[in-house]
Amino acid sequence: MLRHYLPSALLLLSLFMHAPAQAQQSDPLADYYGNTFVCAGGLDGDDACHIWLEKDGSFVMFGGMQGGHHGHYQIGPQRSDGQLALCFYLDTTGIDIPAELEAQHPGAPMPPPSGAAASAGQAPPAGPPPGAGAGMGCDTVDFRTTCGPGHGKPALDAQGKPLPLASAIIARFHDGMCYPMGGQKLGEHWVETDDPSPSQGGKDQAFLIPGHR
């Protein structure tokens, strides 16, 4: 009797044992964990953000907001293009940085690279990192963030003045910003055409690079 059922039992056991490995392979974010996602302006290619995504739902983000910041993310439903809607929430509203230690961006911008901006046939607009401008608002509905005129509220200080850019970016991400992500492999460079912000032509250049950079 036992001998009769043994092959079936072994087959079932092997299926169960392989299940975790298959689940890991099918995680569209698997190559993000422990590595660095870099976002850059869709037109000017300027380095705008670095994200260290962890499997436990936390992340560290830096770029344009002086220093690193912890946060947590939520994953929305898979979209028709196969990507996930990933919503980022910074756990901080920023720290008080003495003026002497504040980041500045000296020097004139470099000319655009021969790639994206040139192919777009226009000069790169001087603008904030994707989706995080100080003077515009953003709405998030069903794991999709849209920024621009008529959306949300501009990021303002207690006196009603627009926040400095770095603080505005932090405020935006504290409230939550959703981006399509996932499915890419380590070493890939791609253009995301569904950026929440209309600046940079609504595009992001994206890179997935090894390790923490």
Binding site: D46, G63, Q66, G67, G68, P98, A103, Q104, P113, R213
Partner: protein, 145 residues
Amino acid sequence: MHTLTGLLMLTLTAAAAQAADPAADYYGNSLLCKAQSSGAVCDLWLEPGGRYAVFYDSGQKAYVKGVQGDFENEGRTGSYTAQATHAGLRLCLKPDADTPPRPAGHSPALFHEAGCLVLPHHAPGELWTLSFGGETYRLGLINGR
């Protein structure tokens, strides 16, 4: 009486733990630096257990040229040891990976490579000056992250 003894022991234990961990002031806070010649900035986090992360913004409009990058923003992680000395906190860093050196003009290089340096004693919020690698930095331990 027992309550007083308990409180005293609790206080002593907390004080001993603080003394035993010379990097305790850094946990949950940010050690910010700014290179005086270039304006580039950095942000160092020390975690309990000997892990660290450091974030740089070179201040240059560095366009991303490829997966290897020539990034305006850079970060790295690694492990550290900390030791209290008369001069301050002797901090030895060991990055997780040998990433390319900072491109020319992309300072700061502070906390970038493996090595040790001494951070003088300063209260949180106090700023001070440090010379490293031919560059002068202003530094400050700032509350929060």
